[in-house]
């Protein structure tokens, strides 16, 4: 095979958004088609499925096959691409009668929230009816076709990919409109004469011929782009243009001629009474409900029965159905029952009453085969803990004995780049996975076994205060001592953590370390409130009859909840370590790991303290501090933060930086956030008419959690994407240092070698966007719960919404500032280790 041709044939591109869209559409249609078939709706046969997939396949070929690669080089290839989008894909899609299968294939929630209410909007139905009128559809398609062939616009599409995409989308949509009156897919009825199709198609063919004639017989190249690009096979740009025009002429003419002939035959062979379904119609009736469509067709069907052999198969399909309806009872008295039979399965899809019934039970991960069994086993947690313990030991060893160069040391990269990101992503994707596999808990258990653990944790410390103080200390030390840059300090922090876990739990009963001391745990507890998985009871009624309370107290063989959470009263994941002891100890096997929409849970009351109110204030303070820390820690690593630190150093000498960091921590994490919360709570309370800012803060502050998590996720994603490769280099060096592998001298630092991936910024922005949307939604739900769908609900939530928007804006500003790649910037000594 010619090498040029073989190169063309392998030039398939891949556009993720298009593949996703086509795949999703195909899946929805298939789901709906199968549902309808299962309900006995025989109108949707295999040929419909085939047509639909052929239509989607045509779009795929037009936009991702070598045609797309050739389009910038050959005008004729570009023309074929457009012809596929305009003349092949749309008729195939309409022949599949896609509307009802697509609606039936959508999730019930989408149908309930969007499709049915929109379907019931008279204005929208009127607009759709106007749009699908033959005159409108014809004009739109022709205008779009001619407009994009204006040289300036055509040239623009070849220079700008966005405009090129817009061109393709507009071709596809306008052609879908054009072919709609021709095919009139089920359940739409033909409310105009078949005669109308003759001029409709004929005139379309004429205007297409004019355009293609202009392209074919032009004496100069109309689109200069094709004069500049390299020519293939010695084909001049003018000849290529003529071929493109000829292709448009022939294929276009055929595409209009075939339905024209079929329609002509239909018109000639059927009586006028059979062809005209309705002589006059009002515009709003052209998108009928299936009930009416069936009834009217059934009435018209007797006149159609004689023309079965002459009509196109797609019309035959409709008539077959109508004939069936009539054969079940032609009299008007029987129409209702015949329609009910013929539309069996369609009404349930579109009627709001029937499709909004009980939804499927939520997913319980513990009941998923294999995964559920593995998670239920206590040994699974021990294995995970041992793995993380081994990782912690390696980090400590390398941090204390390895080179004190952060990017080359496992203690310099693993905790600050990889672990933090994995922790946040675990919270976003599942739940509090780190606490589940926490190695410090292992040390805690050892301490409980070896030491007396007889004291009671002081009552005045039984809140989140100790953890908040430790968090503040950590954020302060992180900036002041550049912990990310010091493997030695990092190792000692890990050692200190283990020591604290052993000491606290060795002396005090219960699990005070996890509950009141551990800063990482508190971070996880707060942000797992928006995780999709929650440890909760499956059936609350079972708990009403339970007298053992083994989820809390434990059973003979299994411990209960160390955190003191009583499952029937527990709401959300706050204070839950995902240890799953309650799952194993429940005598009724009534505790599961249930999937759900986390934002809805935020609106629930009392979710911050597992049903107890003793910790509520400190828990709210924790949320506020963590939200502020999300912004401040990102701010310190920008050029702005660095400039401030330099200026402080210049101004105050060696005391400048400590003074700035200390002041920044106190002001940025405590004073400013608390002042803002007070102001916002007061404003919102006043809008509610109560003026009670404390209660208002208690109700609305949890809505800051998604925004905070979005900021943390965007921040850590930056570090991870910028420095993920450091793990390989550091692990390789560690292995080499300990005689486990020969260390190649050519290794260089894989991080920060060049520009970050172009999708980094969109990814970060999307994480912020998701946080913003979730926070605003939570605010609105909380307010609506209090005030209903009223203006007061909006005014009460408005101050908090402004605060969330401010957090979003500040985070976006920081995101767009030049960032320091902390812990990954240093080069290897001597150009390589």
């Amino acid at each position: 095979m010619n090498s040029t041709l073989s190169a063309i044939l392998i030039s398939w591109s891949f556009a993720p958004w298009l593949a996703f869209f086509l795949g999703l559409t195909a899946a929805i249609y298939l789901r709906g088609w199968r549902r309808l078939r299962r309900r006995g709706v025989r109108q949707f046969q295999f040929k419909h499925l085939t047509c639909f997939y052929a239509g989607l396949g045509t779009i795929y070929i037009a936009l991702m096959s070598p045609l797309d690669a050739l389009a910038p080089l050959l005008m004729s290839a570009h023309m074929v691409q457009h012809l596929l989008l305009m003349l092949v894909a749309p008729p195939l899609l309409w022949l599949a009668a896609p509307e009802i299968p697509m609606v039936a294939g959508l999730p019930a929630a989408v149908r309930r929230t969007w499709v049915i209410p929109l379907w019931q909007l008279p204005a929208l139905r009127r607009f759709a009816a106007w749009l699908t009128r033959p005159a409108t559809a014809w004009t739109t398609a022709v205008v779009v076709l001619w407009l994009w062939h204006v040289p300036a616009l055509y040239q623009w599409t070849l220079q700008d990919r966005w405009i090129h995409d817009v061109e393709h989308v507009s071709f596809l949509l306008s052609s879908l409109l054009f072919w709609f009156p021709v095919i009139r897919p089920h359940p739409h009825r033909r409310n105009d004469s078949f005669w109308l199709l003759l001029p409709y198609l004929f005139l379309a063919g004429v205007q297409g011929s004019v355009l293609s004639g202009m392209l074919t017989f032009a004496d100069h190249v109309l689109y200069p782009h094709y004069e500049q690009v390299p020519r293939l096979w010695g084909l001049s740009a003018l000849a290529d243009q003529a071929i493109g025009g000829a292709l448009m002429w022939t294929i276009g003419s055929l595409a209009y001629l075939i339905p024209l002939v079929l329609t002509g035959r239909l018109v000639l062979k059927s009586s006028s009474a059979a062809v005209v379904f309705r002589r006059s119609c009002t515009s709003h009736q052209s998108l009928p409900s299936p009930v009416f469509a069936g009834a009217e067709r059934a009435a018209a069907a007797p006149n159609l029965s004689g023309s079965m052999a002459a009509i196109p198969w797609f019309e035959q399909r409709l008539q077959t159905r109508d004939s069936e309806a009539v054969s079940r009872g032609g009299r008007s008295a029987d129409l209702a029952s015949s329609v009910a039979v013929s539309t069996d399965g369609l009404l349930p899809v579109l009627s709001s009453e029937s499709c909004c019934k009980a939804s499927a039970p939520p997913l319980d991960v513990l009941q998923v085969p294999v995964m559920g069994a593995v998670l239920r086993r206590g040994t699974t947690r021990h294995v995970l803990q041992c793995i993380l313990l081994a990782a912690a030991v390696i980090v400590v060893v390398d941090g204390l004995s390895g080179p004190q160069l952060a990017p080359a040391n496992l203690a310099g990269v693993t905790p600050w780049i990889h672990w933090r990101w994995l922790l946040v992503m675990g919270l976003l994707a599942a739940g509090n996975l780190f606490c589940m596999a926490c190695p410090f808990t292992l040390a805690r258990h050892c301490a409980n076994a070896c030491l007396p653990s007889s004291w009671t944790w002081p009552h005045w410390l039984s809140n989140k205060g100790p953890a908040i103080v430790l968090l503040l200390l950590f954020f302060w030390a992180y900036e002041l001592f550049a912990l990310w840059d010091s493997p030695w300090w990092t190792a000692w922090i890990v050692v200190g953590y283990f020591s604290a876990a052993v000491a606290v739990n060795g002396l005090f009963r219960g699990a005070p370390f996890c509950r009141y001391v551990c800063p990482i745990g508190q971070f996880n507890f707060v942000y797992s409130l928006v995780s999709p998985l929650e440890v909760k009871v499956r059936n609350p009624q079972v708990c009403q009859t339970c007298r053992s309370h083994s989820c809390l107290r434990g059973s003979e063989t299994m411990p209960g909840c160390e955190m003191g959470l009583f499952q029937p009263q527990k709401q959300g994941n706050f204070d839950c370590t995902f240890c799953l002891d309650c799952v194993r100890s429940c005598a009724h096997d009534n505790v599961g790991l249930i999937a759900g929409l986390p934002i809805a849970r935020l609106a629930a009351s009392d979710h911050l303290d597992g049903g107890r109110n003793t910790m509520r204030t400190s828990a709210l303070l924790l949320i506020v501090v963590l939200s502020a820390a999300a912004v401040l820690s990102a701010g310190w690593m920008t050029g702005l933060g660095s400039a401030l630190q330099w200026q402080a150093q210049n101004l105050l000498g060696e005391y400048g930086n400590p003074a700035l960091v200390t002041a920044g921590t106190i002001f940025g994490l405590l004073i400013l956030p608390l002042a803002l919360i007070f102001l916002v709570g007061s404003a919102s309370g006043a809008a509610e008419g109560t003026g009670d800012w404390r209660r208002n803060v208690g109700r609305y502050a949890p809505a800051l959690i998604p925004m905070g998590l979005g900021i943390w996720a965007a921040h850590y994603t930056y570090h991870f994407l910028a420095g993920a490769g450091t793990l390989v280099a550091a692990a390789w060096r560690f292995a080499g240092d300990h005689g486990l592998a020969s260390f190649a001298s050519t290794w260089t630092c894989p991080c920060c070698a060049g520009e970050l991936a172009p999708w980094m910024l969109p990814t970060q922005c999307l994480l912020l966007d998701l946080g913003l949307l979730a926070s605003l939604y939570a605010l609105y739900v909380v307010s609506r719960r209090q005030h209903g769908r009223s203006r007061q609900a909006l005014t009460a939530a408005a101050p908090w919404a402004i605060l969330v928007l401010a957090l979003f804006a500040i985070s976006a500003f920081l995101l767009l500032e030049p960032m320091e790649m902390r812990g990954t910037l240093a080069a290897w000594p001597g150009g390589g280790p």
């Binding site: 040029t4 700008d160 500049q228 096979w233 010695g234 929409l597 172009p758 999708w759």
Partner: protein
């Protein structure tokens, strides 16, 4: 909420895929014939800007127009700055979507006039063609991020519509229930 969440999630992959590197040629920067060979160099984005640039080369037999696939092509960008800057990358078919081309991705660090040189090495000879290209400033990061930062307005708008639809349904239901 489930319906809204599904609607929002559907947007995410669609948005993610839009910032693709096409490596399909882009704008023709120059075309030279050297002996029996024709070199055509194309760049993307248009206009060529600071940041990651896709440089595509098409090598053809000047007489037949057949695409040449053998030999090694290297793209060298150099800037007469102080100190002089230079970067190079091998243009390969693997990196190109359109396999008629060879593509290389270069990270251009500064705007101005850059000399673009294509070095083509075969077992018989080494051929070089060069041209001066203008590289524009990096687009403002705010402008680049604006579509992503304002993306929440779409689901927010949809939510407002859904709320409005829900209130309409509620009103019509209440109207039906009235005697």
């Amino acid at each position: 909420m489930k319906g809204h969440a599904l609607a929002v999630l559907c947007f995410v992959p669609a948005l993610m895929g839009t910032d693709k590197a096409l490596a399909d040629g882009g704008t023709v920067q120059f075309s030279r014939q050297v002996g029996d060979m024709r070199f055509t160099v194309m760049t993307d984005p248009t206009p060529l800007r600071v940041g990651i640039a896709d440089v595509s080369i098409m090598l053809q037999d000047a007489r037949s127009g057949a695409v040449i696939h053998d030999g090694r092509a290297t793209v060298i960008f150099s800037h007469a700055a102080d100190p002089p800057l230079s970067m190079r990358g091998e243009a390969t078919r693997a990196a190109a979507t359109n396999k008629l081309l060879r593509a290389a991705q270069l990270d251009i660090p500064r705007p101005g006039k850059w000399q673009c040189e294509v070095e083509f090495v075969t077992s018989e000879a080494t051929i070089r063609v060069q041209e001066v290209l203008n590289v524009a400033e990096r687009p403002d990061r705010w402008r680049a991020a604006a579509p992503w930062l304002f993306a929440p307005l779409v689901p927010m708008g949809l939510y407002v519509v859904a709320e409005w639809l829900a209130s309409r349904r509620k009103e019509s239901r209440q109207a039906r229930c009235r005697p």
